[in-house]
């Protein structure tokens, strides 16, 4: 299958925007990915080995969280897996944060 790598993780995947892996399940595919590019592991998983809460996985157009078997879902060579960190934020009603300038 093809795993699409988002912009912030490409430096940890040899600059690639996509990586081909052979795997039977989504979980296996992530294992294969992080074996080839071990620096990705800390960005995808917690120290306990769980997928970080802000990392979204999409098997083709399906959110893996809502698949019945989740990361144990079986895959085919034609499938794609997109890794997409979440995007959110917004202004706060009060206060102003400290700004770090380089």
């Amino acid at each position: 299958m093809t795993i699409f790598i988002p912009t912030p993780l490409r430096p940890f995947a040899a600059g690639k925007d996509a990586v081909e892996v052979e795997a039977a399940t989504i979980s296996d595919a992530l294992d294969s990915l992080t074996q080839v590019h071990p620096d990705l592991r800390k960005h995808l998983f917690t120290g306990e080995g769980k997928l970080r809460a802000f990392v979204n996985l999409y098997l083709n157009d399906e959110d893996v969280r809502y698949l019945p078997a989740k990361e144990a879902t079986t895959i085919t060579a034609a499938d794609t897996l997109s890794i997409i960190p979440s995007i959110a934020g917004g202004c706060l009603p009060h206060g102003r944060p400290r700004l770090r300038r380089s």
Binding site: T7, D63, I84, I87, A88, G90, R101
Partner: protein
């Protein structure tokens, strides 16, 4: 300090989006290429704000919309350089919410202050750091390419 290059068209579009959506927060993605001193952004994509429960001070882009934005960007030979949103009647400074919810290391987060429906200051902040645990926003210089 890094540099965010924006075309005039992109700069005007993201500010107009903030005015149009006011008093809610607008949000969207910035597409471009990485350059040695920052990002060169050549296109913006409007996104829906899923935080309809608190759209005046929160924004969220759905994961599936992000997947489609990135897919389209890749087809154009571009990448997601960062994101933009507006702060209705609040400064163009990142909030603690912005930082805690920011996870695209190395990408730019552009914020436009919209005061009483009129876009005022626009700032860009790069999410610096090597990991989620040491991330911090650093202000970039915005250069508008005419």
């Amino acid at each position: 300090m890094g540099i965010l290059h924006l075309t005039r068209a992109v700069y005007d579009k993201i500010r107009a989006h903030g005015e149009e959506i006011y008093p809610s927060e607008c949000c969207g993605a910035l597409l471009g290429t990485s350059i040695p001193d920052g990002w060169n952004v050549v296109a913006s994509v409007r996104a829906g704000n899923t935080r309809t429960d608190s759209a005046h001070n929160r924004y969220n882009i759905s994961g599936l919309e992000l997947v489609k934005i990135e897919r389209d960007a890749r087809r154009q030979g571009l990448g997601i350089a960062g994101f933009y949103h507006s702060h209705p009647d609040h400064p163009a400074e990142w909030s603690l919410t912005d930082l805690s919810e920011a996870h695209w290391l190395g990408c730019c987060y552009v914020i436009t202050a919209v005061a009483k429906g009129k876009a005022v200051l626009t700032n860009s902040f790069r999410l610096a750091g090597a990991t989620e645990e040491d991330k911090a926003f650093e202000q970039d210089t915005i250069e508008i390419d005419e």
